[in-house]
Symmetry: C2
Subunit: 326 residues, 2 copies
């Protein structure tokens, strides 16, 4: 009798070491509904041996960043960073007082500064993102992301990541997926904080970039950031960036705007099971509500295509129980 | 008494499930000597809690490919691929009969074809590597690597990888390292076979590239390979490529030529423990012997710097028990 009981203990010990505890809901911030169901169905089908099974090495998931993993209103957060840098650097640039777009900006007239359109933004970005070494830029970004706060929400920008998407990233990784960011934002603006914020390491971040150049400074090699565009990881550039950095087609992709459309089409065009998702900003109370006519995160053609193709459209207001981490 | 015995069994079962068996030599194809010792010492120091400890996420190791992970004589294997493609494509290009470097090449006069130097090689590469989609190119490379054989060794090129380096890659990964290729070779020429040959997935391959463009063909999005250089991942380009693709500085780097010098310097210049290694081709019997005056894999400045800085120089003849996998 004793033998039987102890044998049972041995079995229990072995079982407890090898079989995971039955999992709690991996997506607690998602309300039950079609969006959540479609995610869970997809993951279960590709990890279960059978016709839809996908080997671990091919479980590549790509996510846009602005408006998909963190907020993007009232202006892209990287632009907020650039504007803060203009103010910080102004004492070293007395000539900016008489030079647009800097002059308007320093007078607090953002609208006037941005009236120059893309060339004005280009000037602001180049003045604030280049000239230093990659390591110096990393420190500047780290300092900003740990101190600057959003004007409306009054939280650090890196705290304005979406709790449901954090759960989705973790759920995918727990099921053997490798999660990547594929963003129009600057690759070196994102890398200093994506690992902490999303669990996505620098080597899994794809973004827009400027050219860099190897130089010796004080006898040590450094990479200097040059005022020259290297790559724009947006629209038709996203499949190009995915191919260059990942070299495999994703089986899951998530975006929120027309800038993501080609990435979503590229993902959908692969063979086998595919998941294509869009975050639709529908929550004016807890976040922002915008789509077809918004200048930031315009969602028009991609919304039509999602409906036509049966892609998953996440209705932020209905589908998300929480927006930001508590 | 029975209780004690069974308790002992429970303990043994638990222990056997949690403690790894004392490891056999992880580098059996390396002869005992300074090179092997320096590798093992480095790995043990960075994985052991203490002042030299490096967190898993920062255990980045980068390897050159040609001459470091696989052979590169008598011509770079990618050039052998290009030459084979010229022959295969010749029927579709009757004009090549009167056009250099193709004319010489098709007559079997390699020396004459390459007499045109870099512009001739550029023409051969563009004629054979562009115009098709990325997926078509992948298939072409796969077919070549599974059929073409080296003229002297009479084995598939992908079987001319170095057994000691395969063991080193596996040893590093078993100790939490992420292993990357950083090669002057074409990124899309390597990716179709690096996972099988080295256990290195496509997203961990950095190399030279041409531009690609998203197009719709038969209603499906494809990436077309354009006859335009995107990036040359050699010399001062290697730290640039590492920064762009990995976004972290390696703590270990291995090369074999002056083309790797800047990658090695970039690695050495980081703070904390660093390992910098060179494969020195010293074995004319089992492989090839070449260094300072070789046109392929010139090893001159990097050899001097390795000696001056105390980097690990692997003497292929003395340090490697085996060259290729059996």
């Amino acid at each position: 009798m004793k033998l039987t009981i102890l044998f049972a203990i041995v079995v229990l010990v072995i079982v407890s070491l090898t079989v995971p505890v039955f999992a709690a809901d991996p997506l607690p911030s998602w309300n039950d509904g079609a969006a959540k169901q479609s995610i869970v169905n997809f993951v279960q089908r590709v990890i279960t041996p059978g016709k839809d099974f996908v080997p671990v090495a091919e479980r590549i998931a790509t996510f846009d960043n602005d408006g998909t993993l963190w907020a993007e209103q009232p202006i892209y957060f990287q632009l907020a960073f650039a504007l803060d840098r203009v103010k910080a650097l102004a004492p070293q640039h007395p000539e900016w007082k008489d030079k647009e777009p800097f002059a308007s900006l320093l007078k607090g007239d953002l609208k006037g500064a941005l009236a120059g359109g893309e060339p004005a933004i280009f000037q602001i970005v180049m003045a604030t993102h280049t000239g230093m070494t990659t390591e110096e830029f990393e420190q500047i970004v780290k300092e900003w992301t740990t101190t600057a706060k959003h004007p409306k929400i009054k939280r650090l920008y890196t705290e304005m990541v979406y709790q449901p998407m954090l759960e989705l990233l973790a759920y995918l990784r727990a099921n053997g997926f490798k999660t990547f960011i594929v963003s129009g934002g600057g690759i070196e603006f994102m890398r200093p904080w994506t690992e902490k914020a999303y669990g996505i390491p620098p080597e899994q971040v794809v973004g827009s970039s400027i050219k860099t150049k190897l130089e010796l400074r004080d006898g040590k090699p450094v990479l200097v950031r040059l005022p020259e565009i290297n790559f724009i990881d947006d629209k038709a550039g996203k499949p190009v960036g995915i191919n260059e950095h990942i070299g495999r087609r994703p089986i899951l992709a998530f975006g929120n705007s027309d800038g993501d459309l080609q990435m979503l089409q590229w993902t959908a065009a692969g063979s086998g099971m595919r998941f294509v998702g869009l975050v639709h900003h529908t929550d004016a109370d807890r976040e922002w509500a915008y789509d077809r006519t918004s200048h930031i995160g315009t969602l028009d053609k991609a919304l039509d295509e999602a409906k036509a193709k049966g892609w998953t459209v996440v209705d932020m207001k209905k589908d998300w129980r929480e927006i930001y981490p508590k």
